[in-house]
Amino acid sequence: MANSSHSDGPDPEREARDRSRSLAERIAGARRETMVAEASAEFRQREMTGMGRAFRFAAEFVAAIIVGAGIGYGIDLLLGTRPWAMIVLLLLGFAAGVLNVMRAAAEMNADVSVGTASSSQVLDDDDD
């Protein structure tokens, strides 16, 4: 009797254990995914605060001007054309700064819609 229950037919106890274990595993996975999705959404939203945006725009704008002026200064030193290359590249740096800010703004606008779309997509995503 004991022997036959061991060999033939699935052991109901073990099967139940396996099932509850895979269920727990899936619950843990799903919980993890929702927590991750919530955290991402929260972070993206926080980045949208006035302070965060202001800092981003300022950094993008100033960085391009500094780089433009720096390259111009370097060219002037090399070619002895002071101050013309610096003037021209400073102006180009301003243009690049405006371009950077416009791109950053476009990215932020895209993030708002993508952020919500991708978080719902993560929830739908079963397994990958």
């Binding site: 965060g52 960085a63 433009g68």
Partner: protein, 259 residues
């Protein structure tokens, strides 16, 4: 009453613990490069050890049903993986170890900075600039390796008439070269500003408490310092996230330069 001035930037001082020697230079005072083990180096090492210990110890159990620590480690993994996938596509996943390492390093370094008397590694622009330049070099080298000369298409937006293009290309190049700067400026600026403001409010509490009857007013900056501490924890995590997201965005350009 003590006359010891409260210096909000004293916390960023570099202290040399021991030196490995002086390299290069002509032997005169101040020439060459002294390589020393500083408090900054110590905290970078501690950051590395803490991040590694957290990930190794928490995943050691390898439970199919994760415990609390393992769940945290898996969440961080999944968080970064989602970020890479959504910003740089599935192909970007080959850079996952790189982005994950950067994210963990900055996150742990920022959180270490919140512990009193600890040094904030990321409050020095040389550290954040080194990280940003590393990302920049990875983007440029991988971009050329993968796309060859097609990588230069990044500087030539499509649909521009020929008489404008000679103006647009230099602008695009400057814009591209400014990336490591703005990338490092944001992390550095946020960490530096936050820590200075915290110190200023903390210093106000001390100064007011030392001023006799006016000590009652010290409750105001104290409340501010408490609120700012909470905010700084958020900023610490947020800036690590922002740095990693920007890394992914830049890597995406290396993978798909034509957009």
């Amino acid at each position: 009453m003590s006359e010891k001035a409260i210096e909000p930037i004293h916390q960023f001082n570099i202290v040399k613990y021991f030196t490995f020697g002086n390299f290069g230079g002509n032997g005169s005072e101040g020439s060459g490069m002294e390589i020393a083990f500083t408090n900054s180096a110590l905290f970078m090492l501690l950051t590395l050890l803490a991040a590694s210990a957290f990930l190794i110890l928490s995943t050691r159990g390898r439970g199919l049903v994760p415990g609390r620590m393992q769940l945290m480690a898996e969440m961080v993994y999944e968080f970064v993986a989602n970020m890479v996938r959504s910003s740089a596509g599935t192909e970007g996943m080959r850079f996952f170890p790189f982005v994950f390492t950067l994210f963990m390093f900055i996150l742990v370094a920022n959180f270490f900075g919140m512990v009193p008397y600890f040094f904030t590694v990321t409050s020095h622009i040389i550290v954040t600039a080194a990280l940003a330049v590393l990302v920049f070099l990875v983007v440029v080298i991988y971009g050329f390796m993968r796309n060859g000369a097609k990588f230069l298409k990044l500087f030539v937006p499509p649909g521009i008439p020929w008489f404008i293009i000679w103006l647009v290309v230099p602008i695009e190049i400057i814009s591209f070269l400014s990336r490591p700067l703005s990338h490092s400026l944001r992390l550095w600026g946020n960490m530096l500003a936050g820590h200075i403001v915290l110190k200023v409010f903390g210093g106000m509490v001390v100064a007011l408490l030392g001023a006799g009857a006016w000590g009652v007013v010290a409750i105001l900056p104290f409340g501010m310092a408490v609120a700012l501490t909470g905010l700084e924890f958020l900023v610490a995590a947020l800036q690590a996230f922002v740095f990693a997201v920007l890394t992914c965005v830049y890597l995406n350009d290396a993978i798909h330069p034509g957009h």
